[in-house]
Structure formats: C-alpha cells, structure tokens
C-alpha cells in the first residue's frame, strides 16, 4: 500500500505557469501517480527539455534533469542505461518533442527505451509567446503565421505507433483522474511508454473548451494489442483518450542486460595483452 502522498512529491518551488495552464493538471496527475506507485523520490529521475512544460522537474521533489531544448529523450536513455534500477520519466512540450527534438523520438521508440515520455501538447509555442508548433492546425493564426499556418500538423500518436513505441496513449489535463491512471500504467510498462497529454495554453492558444468537445474515450472493446486498430484510432479526427496501443517486447534495458550476459568477462590486463607486440596478436582485435 502506498505510504507516500501526492504532496510528498511537491518541491518547494511553485510552478511559474499562467493561471489555468493545462500543465497544472498534468503535474497534479503525475504527483498522484507517483504516490499511487509509491515511487522512491531518490530513485526517480524526471528529465525535461526546454519550454513552459519542461520546467516541471523543478516542481517535483525527485531527482531531475532540466536539459536542453529537444534533448530529454537521449539524456533519459543514458540515465536509465547507466542505472536500470531508476524510474525515469521524460517530460516536455510539443515544440520540444516534435520540432527540435523529433529526431530522437522514433529512435527511443524503436529501441524500446525503458522510460515514460509524457508530452504536454498545447499545439503552440508558449514560452516564446505563441508561435505555431508542429501540432498547430492548418490555417491557424499565430505571430509566425500571420496568413494562417500553411503547414499540416504532425500526428505524434501515429508516429509513435509507426516507430515502434510499445505503449501509446492520450490523456488530457482537464481529466486528471484518467490521466493519472494512464501515467501509472505507462510507468509500470516495461519499455518505451508515450503519453500525449492534451494541455491547453490558456494564454496563447486557449483550446480548453473546444477540446472538451473533441475528446472521446477509447471504446471498451478496443484491442490495445492490435496495431492496425491503434493506427485507425490515431488517424481518426478529434482526440481519442486512453491507451491506443500496447505491446510486450523486450525493453532496451533487458536487451542490454542480455548483451552483458553474453559478453565474456575480461579485465584491463587481458585487454592490454591483446596488443602485445611480441605475440603479434591481430593488433588488439578482441578475441
């Protein structure tokens, strides 16, 4: 049974977000989820990029890394590979994850890096004051798209499923109970678990009310192991909330554990011996 309360995970720093920001709901869900799982704060690392939502690690009393714009995923991978005992949660926004940092997303997914990636998706750049993001809609007006956005949005859920993410879900900041449950399942999942959390920006792209009209829960009979069905849901208009796809396969940490088991134990002296000039070994080629 859980002995920790959600408030135990709050740091002494108060969030700097605007009133009504969706990120408050996501943070509250994360606190509650960590409490439900009774995560040891000393063995939990929250890794973020840059942006409004990427300030999140400072508001949690766990270990944290506030990295560079777009880089939470590879940093989180390094943490997890170096110490598989840790619970590693990467967080960030849609600009951080799907513009500057997109190059890392499919690789984290295909490697099945054993972390949770929680994206607070507000379809806008908040911290830089409202420019269009990769998930902004076609013809959306923003300071950088005065004639309306000429680009189509990226579909991060379909991308995640295509790239090999083994857990793909969508939640919403305005439904914290369901989001908490999703985060809990994502953290418990062995492998790369990705949650797109709708998190409206009340200052620059206030979709709080309109998104409530567009969300629906995943159908009770949806087979989460069926990749084709998951694609259909991801490609469908509006927002389907819940777990779209889930697959059991070896995580990156488990695969590297297997490599360590396969490798023949050696030591520095044996390795230096392999270069012995007199023995004429094949110039240090590992045996």
């Amino acid at each position: 049974m859980s002995t920790r309360k959600p408030s135990d995970y709050k740091s002494e720093l108060k969030p700097i977000w605007c009133p009504g920001c969706g990120d408050f709901g996501v943070l509250a869900s994360l606190y509650r989820s960590m409490a439900d799982l009774d995560l040891d704060p000393a063995k939990t690392v929250i890794v973020s990029g840059i942006g409004c939502s990427s300030r999140l690690p400072h508001f949690a009393s766990t270990y944290g890394i506030h990295t560079l714009h777009g880089r939470p995923l590879p940093v989180a991978m390094g943490v997890k590979l170096a110490n598989p005992e840790l619970t590693v949660i990467a967080v960030g926004g849609d600009g951080d994850g799907f513009a500057i940092g997109l190059g890392h997303f499919p690789h984290a997914a295909r490697r099945n890096v054993d972390i949770t990636y929680l994206v607070m998706d507000n379809e806008i750049y908040g911290l830089t004051k409202g420019q269009a993001s990769p998930t902004s809609l076609y013809e959306q007006k923003a300071p950088s798209t005065p004639f309306g956005n000429p680009e189509d949005p990226l579909n991060p859920l379909a991308l995640g499923i295509a790239a090999g993410a083994s857990f793909v879900a969508r939640g919403a900041s305005f439904n914290t109970k369901a989001l908490t449950e999703l985060i809990t399942q994502a953290i418990e999942h062995k492998g790369f678990s990705y949650i797109d959390a709708l998190s409206p920006c009340t200052t620059f792209n206030n979709t709080q009310e309109s998104w409530k009209e567009l969300v629906r829960d995943v159908a009770p009979d949806h087979d989460v192991t069926n990749r084709e069905q998951a694609f259909e849901l991801a490609l469908k208009g509006g927002f389907t909330l819940g777990i779209l796809y889930r697959q059991e396969r070896l995580s990156q940490s488990q695969r590297y554990r297997n490599i360590l088991d396969k490798a023949k134990a050696s030591d520095i002296d044996t390795m230096l011996d392999s270069f012995n000039a007199r023995k004429g070994a094949a110039i240090g080629k590992p045996s």
Binding site: P41, L81, N83, M271
Partner: protein
C-alpha cells in the same frame, strides 16, 4: 653497406587492393621481431577506388616520426608511382608491378619489377593475393624471416580453406623477386629485451585507456577517423560490465553520455570535427550543469566535410570555444600514441574532479597510426573519485554550493541525500533557476575559478633544453614527435633548442609558456591548420611575439621540415 638504425617503407596503390592490410601485416611482423615502428596512412574517403598509401618506419631504437625520405617504395599501379615518386630518398629503391607500372628511364637503375599480378594469378587464380606478393618482395629486400608473417596469415585466414596456403605461396614467390636487392638495407638488430611492448593505434590506446580509467558508458555515432573507438568498445566495454551504444547522431550520443554520468557512471563519447560541432550546445550544458563527461575529437581535415580521411589540427578553436556563452571546459591534447592512453586517464580524472566536460584532441594521423609503445603500468594509475553528496543531510544539500575550491558535492540518483535538478539555466546554489547579477557573477566565478589549479599543475610534455636560447618550439598534440626528433638532430648540430607542449590547453598555462621562452631568440609554433590557431591562442594568452608556422595540406609535419624551420632564419 653498414647497418642502419631505421628504414622507411611506403606501399602505394588503389584502395581495395590490400595496401593497408599489407602495411599492417608488415608492421606486425616487424613489431614481433622486436623493432620499434611507426606508421602513417592516407586513403580516400571512398570504400573502393582512389589512391591509398601506407608508410611505415622501423628501427631498433624508439622513433618519433614516420620519416620523410622513403627508402623502399612499392608501387601497385601507375598512379602509385605518379603520386609518390617525389617522396623517394636519394638512395631509395622502387619495387613495382611489372604489368601495371612504367618507370621513367632515369629511375630504372634503382627500380626492380615484381610480378605482383602475374604471380598472384598463377598461384591463386585471381588478383587477390597481389598484395602478398608485394609483402613477400619487401621481406626479401629487408632480408626478413617470413615465419611471423606466415603465422599471421594462418591466423587471419584460419576459417577460409586454401586462402592461407595461397597467401603463403604468394609471400614466398614475392620474396624471391628483386633478388639482387636482398639485404640492401641492413638494419641494426633489435636489442633482445624482456620488456613488455605493445603495437597499438592512438584510437585503441584511448579505448583501452578509457577502460583503465573505469568508463562504464560509451555512446557514439560512426565518423571517420573516430569509429574505431566505438567499434572496439562495443566488444570490450560489456566485458567489464559497461555499455556501448551507437546513437542516432552526435547530439544524442553526448546527451546520453550526460545522462549516464548524471546517474553516476563514468561516461565518454568519441567523434571528429563535424560531430563536435553538433555537440556544441551540450558542451555548454555540461559546463553549466557541472556534469563530468569525456569527449574525444579525432580531428580530420576541415572545414565542413573537408578531408574526412586526412589529418589536421584545425578543431582547436572549436574545442576551446565551441558553444555559446562563456562555457567552461578542459581541453587536453596527447602528444603520442602512448600518451593517448595516459591522457585518456587524465581526461576522466579531470572530468570527475572538476565536474566539467573534457575534450581530448587527437588527429587522424595520431588516431590511426600504429606504434610500438611500452606497455602502460596499470597498478600505478591513480583514479580520481567524484566528490558526491553521500552523507550530506538533505535539508542542507546544495548541489551548486560555493566552496573553497569551487567544487560542490554531486548528488547521485539512488542517494537520498543528494536530490537536485541539474540545469543549464542560471541557478542558485540549490540549482533553482535564479537570474540576479550576484548569482550570475558568482556562478561564473565558480565555473571558471575551479579550473585555475590546472594552469600551474597540469603535466606538460617537453624535450630538449629547458630554456632554449636558439629556438623554442611550442605546439600541441601530434607535432610533438617530429619536433622531438628534429630537436635531437639539431642539438647534435650544436643548436640550443627545446620544446614545450602543454597537454592541457584550456585552461592555458600562460605563465609557464612565458617562462619557457624567456631566453629564446626565436619562438616557433608549428601546427597543422590554416589560420595558426595555437599561435593565436598563445599570443592572446601571453602577448609574446612568435613565428606561426601553420601548414595545411592534409599531411603531418616531418622531422626534416621542422629542422628546416629551425635552420631557416639562422641561414638568413
């Protein structure tokens, strides 16, 4: 002919003809026979086709450069002759393939045809053993016992039936060619010694040095000429319980290295110039978040894609300054293959002690050349532990606490007393975002002042006079070898010469450089780049007047070129 101390052999042909593997096998055989060797190779950036060259020098004595004047030039094809004839020494001889190469009449008296292709076809039914005929011909001229080579061939082709036999037959056939040149270069035989020596490249010395230093995580992206490190550690690191991972790019490589180091593992990446450019932003992050990492940059010709397979020292500026803001780092440049091992251990020690990114600068020549070195002593190595938060009560814990030496205890996940958020944003002692003038100034001092002790305390490399009166050479990295050889020869000629090679270039030991040159008539700074990057650094740091000799042709300095530099102005 009296016995000599060194011979320089150059093999040249088309990429894919086995020129490089021939050079490797001869070098291994020479090392096995007790000779010191040093090699130098150039090859095209393409896998098949294009000219490649392998030069090796062997001697009974330690050698410091690959040599300028070629004693024995082996031409696999016409282009090999066309591109390499001007490297021949005054007494140099030529072995050339009789079907492929035409040698100008004036060189014919010292050229011998070798039936490379003919014999290869006769013996193996194809051209594949062509290079072994050439290897055989070289062993003939050098009067080398072929047994070590036969053993190497048997080992290499153990799994391929018939291939070893054909290669050994080709080797023997080749050794009977050019019979009248047999023993043309009688070498002083190596001194019999029980001393442990290794034949190893700079890249390999770095990889094995990292293991000795306790590396537990390596991430990299394939790039010439650094990929050997990734490949070698892919096999070796799991054997000591560590992990090697090939990432999607250099940004992810360094980012994951930062993550692993944050989690407590000694972590490293290796790349070349283009990769270091991509890592720039993260280098600033590592300096600001104070996370120890080691970054190897095996420099190649730049700018841009440049000369991917040629040598250059043109990433110095990038290593010193790359990244926005005043981003602290330590830059260390090993001066020899042996030093690659020790500099890597130093790099880890500096990173862990000062909680800072350390960039280890080599270059293509140093990274890929094979050299016989003394086996490093591992039981006398000192490894510096990271200062951690272990035992510090949580309430008191300040990750970026101001301390006397500006180094603060680092929390490691799993340790309940060290929780903090690492960040690249300006922060107070707790790591909380904070932007006041006092904090920015205070943290700037913390990040930079902690490196001060290295200016006086970091070991340097030197040779010759401690305070030369004629010529003082200052350089970094791989030019140390040819400069050292030149110093010995110039000293014999009666000149007062010496060299000072800072191994740590950032922070720069300005006072020590000023002291070194105090009596020198001339201060010469040789380096392999276009703009004289080291010379500019020295001028900026010390204000001394110097002669910048920036050479930028994709080739390393020779000892002879350094001697010319020393004699030049004296003659004038």
């Amino acid at each position: 002919m009296s016995a000599r101390h060194s011979v320089v052999i150059r093999l040249a042909g088309e990429s894919g003809e086995g020129v490089i593997s021939s050079g490797d096998i001869l070098t291994q055989a020479a090392a096995r026979g007790g000779y010191y060797t040093q090699t130098f190779r150039t090859f095209p950036a393409e896998i098949k086709g294009g000219p490649c060259m392998y030069q090796f020098r062997l001697s009974d004595e330690p050698i410091w450069s690959h040599g300028r004047d070629v004693d024995l030039l082996v031409c696999f094809n016409q282009e090999a002759w066309d591109l390499n004839w001007d490297s021949l020494g005054p007494d140099g001889v030529i072995l050339y393939d009789i079907t492929e190469v035409a040698i100008p009449d004036e060189y014919l008296p010292r050229a011998r045809p070798v039936r490379m292709e003919e014999l290869a076809k006769e013996i193996g039914g194809s051209l594949r053993a062509k290079n072994m005929v050439a290897v055989g011909a070289v062993t003939g001229v050098l009067a080398f016992d072929t047994t070590p080579i036969e053993e190497l061939v048997l080992r290499r082709y153990a799994h391929k039936e018939g291939v070893a036999d054909a290669n050994i037959a080709a080797l023997h056939a080749g050794s009977d060619e050019a019979a009248d040149l047999k023993g043309r270069y009688p070498l002083v035989p190596p001194v019999e010694t029980e001393e442990d020596r290794m034949l190893i490249s700079g890249n390999q010395a770095i990889a094995v040095g990292a293991i000795a230093a306790g590396v537990k995580y390596f991430a990299g992206y394939p790039i010439t000429p650094a990929s050997d490190i990734l490949e070698w550690l892919s096999v070796r690191l799991p054997q000591v319980g560590g992990l090697t991972i090939q990432c999607e790019d250099e940004i992810a490589s360094l980012a994951s290295v930062l993550g692993a180091s944050y989690a407590g593992a000694k972590a490293m990446t290796a790349t070349s110039g283009p990769g270091l450019s991509l890592m720039g932003e993260l280098i600033g992050y590592a300096g600001t978040a104070e996370i120890p990492v080691v970054i190897v940059d095996a420099q190649r010709g730049g700018p841009s894609t440049g000369l991917p397979t040629k040598t250059e020292q043109s990433d110095l500026n990038q290593a010193l300054y790359g990244s926005h803001g005043d981003a602290p780092r330590i830059v260390i440049a090993p001066v020899s293959v042996e030093d690659c091992f020790f500099a890597t251990v130093d790099a880890f020690n500096y990173a862990e002690e000062y909680q800072v990114p350390v960039i280890l600068l080599t270059d293509q020549g140093l990274a890929t050349r094979l050299e016989v070195i003394h086996r490093p002593e591992t039981d006398t190595l000192t490894l510096t532990p990271r200062k951690t938060s272990k035992g510090v009560a949580r309430e008191d814990y300040k990750r970026y606490e101001y301390t006397d030496n500006h180094i603060s205890p680092m929390g490691i996940p799993g340790e309940p007393t060290g929780m903090y958020v690492a960040t690249g944003i300006e922060h107070d002692e707790y790591g909380h975002p904070a932007y006041t003038p006092e904090i920015h100034l205070g943290m700037g001092h913390k990040r930079w002042d902690k490196l001060e002790p290295l200016k006086a305390g970091a070991p340097h490399a030197a040779h010759g006079e401690e305070y030369p009166t004629d010529v003082a050479f200052i350089g970094f990295g791989s030019t140390f070898g040819p400069v050292r050889e030149a110093i010995d020869r110039l000293t014999e000629q009666g000149m007062s010469v010496g060299s000072f090679y800072p191994r740590v270039l950032m922070p720069f030991p300005a006072d020590r450089v000023i002291d070194f040159v105090k009596d020198a008539k001339r201060i010469v700074v040789p380096e392999v780049n276009f703009t004289g990057q080291l010379a500019r650094l020295i001028k900026a740091e010390t204000g001394i007047e110097l002669e910048s000799v920036a050479k930028c042709d994709g080739l390393p300095f020779t000892a002879e070129a350094i001697m010319d530099l020393a004699n030049q102005e004296v003659a004038v």
